[in-house]
Amino acid sequence: MVMEDDIRLEVATKPRLLGVVRAMVRSYLQSKGFSAETVDLAVLAVDEACANSIRHSYGSRTDCRMELRVRMTDTHVEFELNDDGVPLDPDRCARRELVPPELNALRPGGLGVQLMYRVFDEITFEPGGERGNRTLMRLQRPPSGQSARRAHDA
């Protein structure tokens, strides 16, 4: 079943606007009953996705646009980030284990993607053929009537 977007936000690729995106995501998840800890983590992970798009898809250009869609399904909240930049390298988007002190994980684009994997239940990176990227991030929604509590392994 295709769900309609609750939010469709088109935002310029200006790093100073990331705070606006975070505020929107925070407010939305709070309104849906997610726990404070889960909200904090999801805000971080969506922010990382947007920052990844700015830095790597668009090479830090600030005159481009990206689109964030947010919707609820029966089981999950979904964040879909679309850009029209350079398709991301699949190797850069692969999941890796971070073993301390793996400071090499902090090469450009390295840590942010790994943080996204640690937060979301599912992530799909879909680089376009010649241009663009679609990143779909899914997080299980809280059971009805109670806040979700996620047991992270950090």
């Binding site: 790093p15 705070g19 983590l41 922010d47 920052a51 994980a105 790994q114 950090a154």
Partner: protein, 106 residues
């Protein structure tokens, strides 16, 4: 929003008190402050993180850069009283055991 970074102490043993959100937009300011505060050799640089309600991976990368430079120069690099938000992102990054972290009581 720009960071508020106050430098305390003498050259060679200073503390940077940082307030505000550290993200892709503001982390260059933190990077510049750490670079400027870093002695050529020895001494210490402490970064007070209690006033940071949010930090992303670019902030973590900035701290790692400081850590690496400090190691090369035999300088102590200390994170002071990280907020819960900062501590969480360090834990997620598996770096909380890499840094020297001290919790000061004001």
């Amino acid at each position: 929003m720009a960071l508020d970074i106050e430098r305390k102490g003498a050259d060679g043993a200073c503390t940077l008190v940082v307030k505000g959100e550290v993200d892709l937009y503001s982390s260059p300011d933190l990077r510049a402050a750490i670079t400027k505060a870093m002695p050529k050799f020895g001494g210490s640089v402490s970064v007070d993180l209690r006033g940071i309600p949010y930090m992303d991976s670019s902030g973590v990368a900035t701290l790692v850069e400081g850590y690496r430079t400090a190691m090369e120069r035999s300088t102590a690099f200390i994170l002071l009283s990280p907020s819960q938000s900062v501590l969480k992102v360090l834990q997620l990054s598996r770096l909380d055991t890499v840094f020297t972290i001290r919790n000061d009581i004001l």
